[in-house]
Symmetry: C2
Subunit: 137 residues, 2 copies
C-alpha cells in the first residue's frame, strides 16, 4: 500500500511517516520503480505502535527503545516496566509543576475582583516578581 493508505490505517500522518524514516525510527520503506514508498501490514502495525506510544506521551527517543523491546522476544518485562514508570514519573512531575501554576493563578484570580477598576492583585504580583510572596502576604 502507498503512504497515504498506511497513514490512514495507522493514524500517523504521511508527513510523520517520512519523518520517522528520515530520523531512523523506522527502517526505510521499499520503493516502487517510480519512487513511491510501499508499506505492508507489518509496517502499519509498527506505525500503530508508535502512534499509541506517542499518545501516551513517550518521546521518540524512548520509542526507539520500546520498539527494540517489542521486537526482542527475549526481553525482560522489567525493562519495559521501568520505561513506563519513568514516563509516569516524568508526566507526574510536569503535572505537579503545572498544578502549582494553576494554584497560584487561581489564588490571584480569586483575589481580583475583575471589574472596571484598574486595581488588580494579579498584576501587582507579576510586578513584584520574585520579591513578593503571592500566597502568604
Amino acid at each position: 500500500m502507498n503512504i497515504g493508505e498506511a497513514a490512514a490505517a495507522s493514524g500517523v500522518s504521511a508527513k510523520m511517516i517520512r519523518y520517522y524514516e528520515a530520523t531512523g525510527l523506522i527502517p526505510a520503506a521499499t520503493r516502487t520503480g517510480s519512487g513511491y514508498r510501499v508499506y505492508t501490514g507489518t509496517e502499519v502495525q509498527m506505525l500503530r505502535f508508535i502512534r499509541r506510544a506517542r499518545d501516551l506521551g513517550f518521546p521518540v527517543d524512548k520509542i526507539v527503545t520500546l520498539l527494540a523491546l517489542w521486537r526482542d522476544r527475549s526481553r525482560h518485562s522489567s525493562d519495559v516496566k521501568r520505561l513506563a514508570q519513568d514516563q509516569i514519573d516524568g508526566l507526574e512531575r510536569k503535572i505537579k509543576e503545572m498544578q502549582a501554576m494553576v494554584d497560584t493563578l487561581q489564588h490571584l484570580a480569586d483575589a481580583c475582583c475583575g471589574d472596571h477598576r484598574p486595581d488588580c492583585p494579579i498584576l501587582t504580583d507579576l510586578g513584584h516578581g520574585a520579591t513578593g510572596a503571592p500566597s502568604r502576604g
Copy 2:
C-alpha cells in the same frame, strides 16, 4: 547596568533579554557609544514581570498583553482576570490530558509483573492486540 547584571537582577538570561528585544516584547535598550546595552531599574522590573509570567506558564504573546495592561493605568481588572482564567483553563486541560496518560500507563504498569520474563501487557497494548512481536510468523 550591562546586560549581564540585568540578567542576574531579573532572573532572565542575557540571551533571552536580547531575544525579547528582537521580537518586540520589550523596547530596544539604549546603548553605550560602543554598542553595549544599558539597563535601568525600570527595565529590570519589566524583565522580572516577564520572568514571573513565564514561570506561571504564560506564553510570550500573552505576556505582550499583560505588559500592556500593566502599563495601562486605566485598565479594567476584568481584562487581566480573563487572561489569568484562560491560562488556568489551558493548564488544566493539559493537566487532564497528561493525567489520562498517567492513568493508562499506571494501569498497564500495574498489570506488568516486571520480571525476567518477556510477557508484558504494556507492549501488548502498544502493539494494539498484537502478540508482542511485529512479525507473527
